[in-house]
């Protein structure tokens, strides 16, 4: 079993390591500190943080509603909410345009309100949120279901109002899952490419995030693309590794 696991791990790790061997280390620093690279990295970090915040704000209530209430059509809603997870991002971008673009469903309304979303940094954040939201909802809903309602029930009989229960029992209990969900969301937002390209475009400093920059560099300078990929990879690893405290290990013995 351990052998199979090792094969599986190698299957993932080998390509990553192989990519590292392709890096032109001599020019690495020059490649990744070019103006456009730095602009893209900074934009990516800013938008990913914003998208993660949005994911938390929207995702926590969604997870709570999905895990703690029952309503007609719940299963369908859950499935649909998880779709961006599995949708090719380009299609996600098309869908976002269809909703929020100038010719989209809400386009006219937004135009009247003087709001232009598509092809702005806001669009980047929305595209990232769209693809990253399911990660948060999924982690959190699972944790909520597993945690069950027993502690919440006890808290209620001790006189805690629902908001108190939420703040002092429910959220602390699922905090590890919330954190890891947020980290996954952040990382997914950081890596988002297809939906951003379609919905937000690729304008330096405004909408051209790191993955778009990498894609563009591939066209002209594959070395730079590989170097930047490595940067993206390292940033992702760092964020995931630093924040993703593992769920406290298997609790002792019975």
């Amino acid at each position: 079993m351990v052998a199979v696991a090792a094969v599986g791990a190698l299957f993932v790790l080998l390509p990553l390591a192989a990519m590292a061997t392709r890096v032109d280390w001599a020019n690495f620093l020059a490649l990744v500190t070019s103006e456009s690279s730095v602009a893209a990295l900074l934009l990516s970090l800013r938008t990913s943080v914003a998208a993660t915040a949005l994911c938390v704000v929207l995702g926590v209530p969604m997870a709570l509603v999905l895990a703690r209430t029952t309503f007609w059509g719940q299963r369908l809603v859950r499935t649909l909410v998880l779709l961006p997870l599995v949708l090719p991002p380009v299609i996600g971008g098309i869908a976002l345009l269809a909703a929020f673009g100038r010719q989209g469903l809400l386009g006219h309304t937004l135009e009247l309100l003087g709001i232009r979303i598509a092809f702005s940094t806001t669009a980047v954040v929305l595209a990232q949120t769209f693809v990253a939201l399911p990660f948060l909802v999924l982690s959190l809903e699972g944790a909520l279901r597993v945690a069950g309602t027993r502690y919440e029930a006890v808290a209620a009989t001790l006189g805690a109002r629902p908001t108190t229960v939420l703040r002092r029992i429910t959220l602390p209990l699922v905090l590890p899952a919330l954190l890891s969900g947020a980290v996954l969301s952040f990382a997914r937002a950081l890596g988002e490419f297809g939906a951003t390209l379609t919905f937000a475009g690729s304008l330096q400093g405004v909408t051209r995030t790191l993955p778009l920059e990498i894609y563009l560099q591939r066209e002209t300078d594959p070395n730079a693309a590989v170097a930047l990929s490595l940067v993206l990879l390292v940033v992702s690893v760092a964020v995931v590794a630093l924040t993703l405290r593992t769920v406290p290990g298997p609790a002792g013995a019975p």
Binding site: L97, G101, R102, Q103, G104, G107, R116, A118, F119, L197, T198, G201, S202, L203, Q204, G205, V206, T207, R208, L216, R218, E219, T220, P222
Partner: protein
């Protein structure tokens, strides 16, 4: 047509956004820098993607001032949508070239070699611009290539060759030039039968028509010509 403007009554100022085909990434980055140097006070923002991607974005309301397409068909789509200000101007041409890894493992010399059994050839799918050019040269040469992959963009064709996965591919001359020593280009006689023309146009939505017009003139002008030629583009 001249690239020097002697009669700039009010000095140009403000920023414009140029949507340009991905294959223009290198040249337009260079041109934008030179334009800004020549007209202090102007800024040129560039957005690169596949031509058809860009048209989709523009019709969906992307704010842009100038569009440079890699083919006439996509420019026509935009014109049909009523977004083009005036007549597009052709500013460059591009032709196909055979591309092989530096060592040329399959010993490719002619277009017909690409059809040899055992040769792993990648080309563009017929629906994308470089693909329709490929169909044209095949027809002209009377060659039927059986590719191992019909890629969705010319970049992917080039990628398969630079990575050594494929023995040969058909890409634009400019791509071969851009890839430098990582590939070897092999010109072939039938390439002239499929000349791809690049048009550029200012857009109706432009908030700074003067700057947009100036940029279009700049690209079409002498400096534009020389930068494009250095990258391998032909004259229109």
């Amino acid at each position: 047509v001249t690239g020097t403007s002697t009669n700039t009554s009010p000095p140009l100022s403000g920023s414009i956004t140029v949507f340009a085909a991905a294959s223009l990434t290198g040249t337009f980055t260079e041109l934008a820098k030179r334009f800004e140097a020549k007209h202090p006070g102007t800024t040129v923002n560039l957005s690169f993607a596949g031509s058809s991607e860009l048209v989709t974005q523009l019709t969906a309301g992307a704010p842009a001032d100038v569009f440079a397409s890699a083919d006439a068909r996509n420019m026509a789509r935009l014109t049909a949508a009523g977004l083009v200000d005036g007549e597009p101007v052709d500013f460059a041409t591009n032709t196909l070239e055979i591309v092989v890894p530096p060592a040329n493992p399959a010993s490719i010399a002619t277009l017909a070699d690409l059809a040899r059994p055992g040769v792993k050839t990648v080309i563009c799918q017929a629906k994308v611009p470089c693909g329709s050019a490929t169909v044209a040269v095949e027809k002209a040469a009377g060659v039927t290539i059986t590719p191992v992959s019909e890629e969705l963009s010319v970049t992917d064709v080039l990628g398969k060759v630079t990575s050594g996965e494929a023995d040969a591919g058909l890409v634009y001359v400019t791509d071969v030039k851009g890839a430098g020593a990582r590939v070897k280009g092999i010109p072939f006689s039938e390439s002239g039968t499929a000349v791809n023309t690049y048009p550029i146009a200012a857009l109706t939505a432009s908030a700074r028509p003067a700057v947009s017009a100036a940029f279009v003139r700049f690209v079409v002008g002498a400096i534009g010509r020389s930068v494009l030629a250095a990258a391998g583009f032909g004259a229109p």
